[in-house]
Amino acid sequence: MIVRLLPGTTALALAAILVAPPLAPRSRAADAPPDAREIIARVKASRAEGERRELEMEILPKRGRSSKRKLVVLTHSRDGEDRMLVRFVEPHDVARLGLLTIQRRGEEDDQHIYVPTLKKTKRIAASNRTDLFAATDFSYEDLRAENLDAHAYRLLGEETAGGERCYKIEATPRTEEERQSSGYSRREILVSTKRPVILEIRMFDKRAGTLVKVARFSDVRDVGGHPKAHRVEMENRPRESRTVAITTSWTVDRDLKADDLTPFKLERGN
């Protein structure tokens, strides 16, 4: 494999490119279909252990006024444990409110909230995965890291999304727990054939099997050697609304440890 060194490419990005195999495994025969699960696993692995994002979300309902959220999101993933701290910056009446979610493999989520007006951190009943996050069109399920063990993946073919050729992969709940808790009967995930990044997800309703949501990812930029979509537009068909999420800053946080994302430290500003 020939890697052309681009001016300005960081050592880390280079390392990532050199270490990571291309998205479609080359060990297979050129015409052999790539393994769908492996493609999704590659996408999931394409992230740093600790990341910090600053997000602006705008909810655009069909009727009524639009509303905005500004958030700082810290994530830490290691050994099958994913931690996510969402800190609200705007609207002002909820500024500094923090929501910590800890996902452990095979366990219910742990969720803690810090309410700045009360200066109190509380354990709360974990949100249903189908609940909407902060009244956006993203459900908690949409924000979770992909659970490879809980899904079956099947390559349906190739399709173009966001101007790029993509693998079209169907993900269906494989475990009974996933079938129960997920709001979707299946998802169609479009992953770029060139790089480990998702460019579109179509989500189908659990009951009727109809298309309920479409997430379109764009503005892919390199973050610590990993391609990251900085713009996501989620179209929610039953609600007739859209949420546009723009990542204004996305950095690898090498100092971020799992111990920094604990209920005790929710009170801190981060």
Binding site: K70, E90, L118, A125, S127, I246, D259, F264
Partner: protein, 447 residues
């Protein structure tokens, strides 16, 4: 084209810049997130207008309308360049009202609330698992939602009994995050004791009835000596496998509510003697235990404080609260949420009262009480309707209900309207204020 309105808050000056951009720039899909000059995130502020309207003059024959204006300025800059891990947090408050409930500046021990003060102002330094704080701080111990018997470190400002808040104390705090399952916190409040601020005499919700036959003397505040220092310790833990949080707390200090001592003052002329009630503040120790566990959509909690005294000369009792909260999202719409809280607060005496001390009824209002809250939030908080109720079951029944609705007019402007209703017999705690029901309107602009 959707969403052309710029983010209204934290942009300076919002309207002018937004108008300029809208006129000058062609509309594109992501213009809504275009970079506009902003105040840094560590500067925040709120300007608040409050109007209280009373249908009755009440037992103190007060004005029927009170207008109040408040301004909060919150600064939380990182001071990393000075010392890695160092930051400051300050919350400055200015308040004015047309009932003259405020006076003076910066003195949190004054019987009147200050016109200008720092509610919080501290330096915090973090290094690895250690955090140190020095300065004026507000603490929040306990996991219960509506009443926390173990949350005894801060006094409260009851200038308006129904619109009260904590008063910051000047303290040194050390926190050690021993692991992700255990944290230890030690608090030292040196020398200065700050009592609860009570409603001023003659004001609405004055805790002393207007026809009270005995004169109340000046407060006897503990002297500003090292012996008046207070300290507290909290061990907090979390057990993820059991969905359980716990805390053990200890506080050696004072009851922030006054007790009353009967004294007799000599007079130079008949009747030669005058009885006086002197408010004083007794030392107390509080050992607390808090538990909180999640059962599916229900969070259940229990919190108890054992109040005792080193000298064993005062009442000893256990004040506790038990209850839970339940929340349900996606009711009428996917972005709505219902949140319910129900708690029972009780008190179990464990030792007798000292002779000569008149029971401090305010200390233990929730001797036996049901507390409840129901909140419905539409579209992520654009409209929130909330009702809170306290039913006192001890002695003469009395009730307090607050109902309010808060509407986010813009992301930087919130309008709240509501009512406070008090009922019960005249001799009961809330019933004594049954002619002081009110409606209120708050308008809150933030940047």
């Amino acid at each position: 084209m959707l969403g052309r309105r710029p983010l209204p808050s934290r942009r300076v000056p919002r309207i002018a810049i937004a108008a300029l951009l809208a006129a000058a720039a062609p509309a594109r899909a992501d213009d809504r997130f275009a970079e506009v000059p902003r105040l840094p995130d560590w500067i925040r502020g709120v300007a608040r207008y409050k109007a209280f309207v009373y249908p009755d003059e009440g037992r103190q024959e007060n004005d029927r309308v009170r207008n109040q204006v408040e301004a909060d300025l919150e600064l939380a800059p990182s001071l990393d360049p000075l010392l890695p891990g160092l930051r400051a947090e300050t919350l400055f408050r200015a308040v004015w009202d047309d009932e003259h409930l405020s006076a003076g500046v910066f003195d949190e021990r004054d019987e009147r609330r200050p016109i200008a003060t720092f509610r919080e102002a501290f330096l915090a330094w973090e290094h690895d698992a250690l955090e140190l704080r020095v300065g004026r701080q507000i603490f929040a111990w306990g996991k219960a939602d509506l009443f926390n018997p173990t949350d005894t470190l801060n006094p409260r400002d009851y200038t308006d009994l129904l619109d009260n808040e904590k008063i910051g104390v000047d303290a040194l705090t050390a926190r050690w995050f021993a692991s992700e399952r255990l944290a230890v916190e030690a608090v030292f409040v040196p020398v200065l004791f700050t009592p609860n601020r009570l409603p001023p005499r003659g004001a609405r919700y004055d805790l002393v009835p207007p026809d009270f036959p005995i004169r109340i003397a000046d407060r006897d505040i503990p002297p500003d000596t090292l012996a008046s220092s207070q300290y507290g310790v909290r061990l907090s833990g979390t057990v993820p496998e059991a969905d359980l949080d716990w805390a053990l707390t200890g506080h050696h200090g004072f009851d922030h509510w006054p007790n009353l001592k009967l004294r007799v003052r000599r007079l130079p002329q008949p009747p030669f003697f005058e009885p006086l009630l002197e408010p004083f503040y007794k030392k107390q120790d509080v050992a607390g235990l808090t538990l909180s566990r999640v059962f599916g959509p229900l969070e259940a909690h229990g919190e108890a404080g054992y109040f005792f005294h080193s000298e064993r000369s005062e009442d000893e009792y256990v004040h506790y609260v038990a209850g839970g909260n339940w929340r349900k999202a996606t009711l009428a719409d996917d972005a709505d949420e219902l949140f319910l809280v129900l708690e029972y607060a009780g008190l179990a005496p464990t030792d007798r009262r000292a002779p000569g001390v008149i029971p401090g009824v305010w200390t233990t209002i929730f001797r036996s009480a049901l507390l409840a809250r129901a909140r419905y939030s539409w579209n992520g908080g654009d409209l929130v309707v909330e009702t809170t109720a306290a039913l006192l079951l001890h002695g003469e029944d009395s009730q307090y209900v607050q109902a309010k609705a808060a509407y986010r007019v813009f992301e930087w402007l919130k309008l709240t309207v509501g009512t406070d209703i008090l009922s019960g017999s005249k001799d009961s705690f809330f019933g004594q204020f049954r002619d002081d029901d009110r409606g209120f309107l708050f308008l809150e602009a933030s940047f």
